[in-house]
């Protein structure tokens, strides 16, 4: 699986993608995370306007067998949520790095991105976890 090079990744298996507008970013869970969860059947999203703190839970992605909290990769305010997932949560499986995005946030401090993993670092991190 390809992890997009212009995204940044967390140890909790979220990705964050800074948008061209320079002020917002999309957030989702990684291919590895959805693969570990299996068929996603439910996504719990925050409300627009919620303030997210880097590292704090903001929702959950659930498969038949397990529930996984989602954590904010960086701090910011929720400006949009992917409401399509409420009726089509399987998009998280089908296109985790694209149509399966969870929230859009306005970035409070772009410097927080620097502490996150690059695509190649994350790919190695996910591969190591799979071996265990």
């Amino acid at each position: 699986m390809e992890y997009p090079n212009d995204y940044r990744y967390t140890q909790e298996h979220e990705w964050v993608s800074p948008q061209a507008d320079g002020s917002t970013a999309l957030v989702g869970i990684t291919h590895h995370a959805q693969d570990q969860l299996g068929d996603v059947v439910f996504v719990e999203l925050p409300a627009i306007g919620d303030r997210l703190q880097a590292g704090s839970p903001f929702g959950a992605v659930e498969s038949v067998k397990a529930v996984s909290d989602t954590y904010a990769p960086i701090s910011g305010t929720v400006t949009d949520v992917n409401e399509k997932l409420l009726d089509a949560p399987e998009q998280v499986n089908d296109d985790p790095h694209g149509e399966g995005w969870l929230v859009r946030i306005s970035v409070a401090d772009a410097g927080e991105l620097d502490s996150l993993m690059s695509a190649s670092d994350y790919a190695a991190y996910a591969a190591a976890e799979t071996e265990h």
Binding site: F42, E44, V64, V67
Partner: protein
């Protein structure tokens, strides 16, 4: 793969939901070799089984199986199990993997009779073939017509080149068979079942689907609906308690419990609000905490989020509004009749 009582077992092979649906619509194959086996042999074997189990083993014919409970003296479950009468004086008990050592010692310690207790888990692997097409699949492999074997009966026969016990039992709510074979032959039998089932779209199934299937059928899982602190009456399993038997472990405690009535009980529920309950979540009614979720999951066959909970007995009848605490939020639910899923009868 997960560690399950020392066994490395797959949660899923291809995908939990696909495996679950294959069992409901066609046929699935499970490797349940982790299950424990204990044999009781000897002239008083029926007496010993009847002493340690709450259901009536002596009433079984040779070739018949029975769901039962191994209870301690206060009436709580040490384990739940299937009792098979192999011969007049020989019984095979199929017990939970995580309890097998405890069960074995308990039965040995209770044994003052002319009976021999044999720890036989190493003598058996177990494969389960479950689903509406299970019968034609097993009939391709057995040396006799297994359609003659009724529900909760078994045949001892040749099966895919092995000596086998083929029981018409299961843990999915579907028609199906559980096949006990020598571990040396189990891989060959596994492969033969997959090959024989190809025409019926057989699918190998993992522990994940085993759990969602049994939950839809509202079958108890040890450590969830039942444990050492739970009596059969609380678990809705009063039917396996035969108080007419003059003596068995737990009988006196259960006589008292039955007279007193239960204060908590297992109930089925479905979510009314958006959210999925999970094992251990707290259950509320009118602001009061009234119990906890014992097992819960999305139900792939039903398109609902369901569960079983242990709650105050006065709330356990169907139609009661409840709330389940999901990530610090109370989400509406409602008690419903169980089983959640019943297979269509021909």
């Amino acid at each position: 793969m997960i560690d399950f009582g020392g066994w490395e077992m797959p949660v899923q092979y291809g995908g939990l939901v696909a495996e679950h649906k294959a069992v409901r619509s066609a046929v699935g194959l499970f490797d349940v070799s982790h299950m424990g086996e204990i044999e009781i042999r000897g002239p008083q074997s029926a007496d010993l089984v009847d002493l340690v189990c709450c259901n009536h083993a002596a009433a079984l014919s040779v070739g018949q199986a029975q769901y039962s409970g191994l209870l301690h003296h206060a009436g709580g479950f040490l384990d739940d199990l299937l009792v098979h009468r192999l011969e007049r004086d020989r019984f095979l008990l199929c017990v939970n993997a995580s309890n097998q050592t405890k069960d074995f010692h308990w039965i040995c310690q209770s044994n003052g009779l002319e009976a021999k207790v044999v720890f036989a888990s190493g003598d058996y692997d177990q494969l389960a073939i479950q689903g509406p097409s299970a019968l034609p699949v097993v009939n391709r492999l057995a040396d006799r017509d297994l359609s003659a074997v009724r529900y909760y009966w078994f045949a001892r026969c040749r099966f895919a080149g092995a000596d086998a016990i083929v029981a018409r039992t299961g843990y999915t709510g579907e028609d199906g068979f559980e096949v006990y074979v020598d571990p040396k032959q189990s891989q060959q039998v596994w492969e033969a079942v997959l090959a024989a089932g190809e025409d019926y779209s057989i699918v190998p199934c993992g522990l994940g689907a085993r759990n969602t299937l049994r939950l839809e059928a509202a079958m108890s899982l040890y450590g969830h609906e039942i444990d050492e602190r739970t009596t059969p009456y609380e678990a809705g399993l009063g039917w396996i308690v035969k108080l007419a038997k003059p003596k068995f472990c737990g009988r006196e405690a259960l006589v008292r419990r039955k007279a007193k009535g239960v204060s908590r009980k297992i109930a089925g529920f479905e979510m009314r609000g958006r959210g999925i309950a999970r094992d251990g979540y707290r259950v509320f009614s009118g602001g009061d905490e009234v119990g906890h979720v014992t097992s819960a999951s999305p139900a792939p066959s039903l398109g609902k989020n369901i569960g079983l909970c242990m709650i105050r007995a006065d709330l356990a009848q169907a139609g009661q509004p409840l709330e389940i605490e999901i990530r610090n939020r109370l989400v509406p639910a409602r008690t419903v009749p169980t089983p959640f899923y019943k297979r269509p009868r021909p």
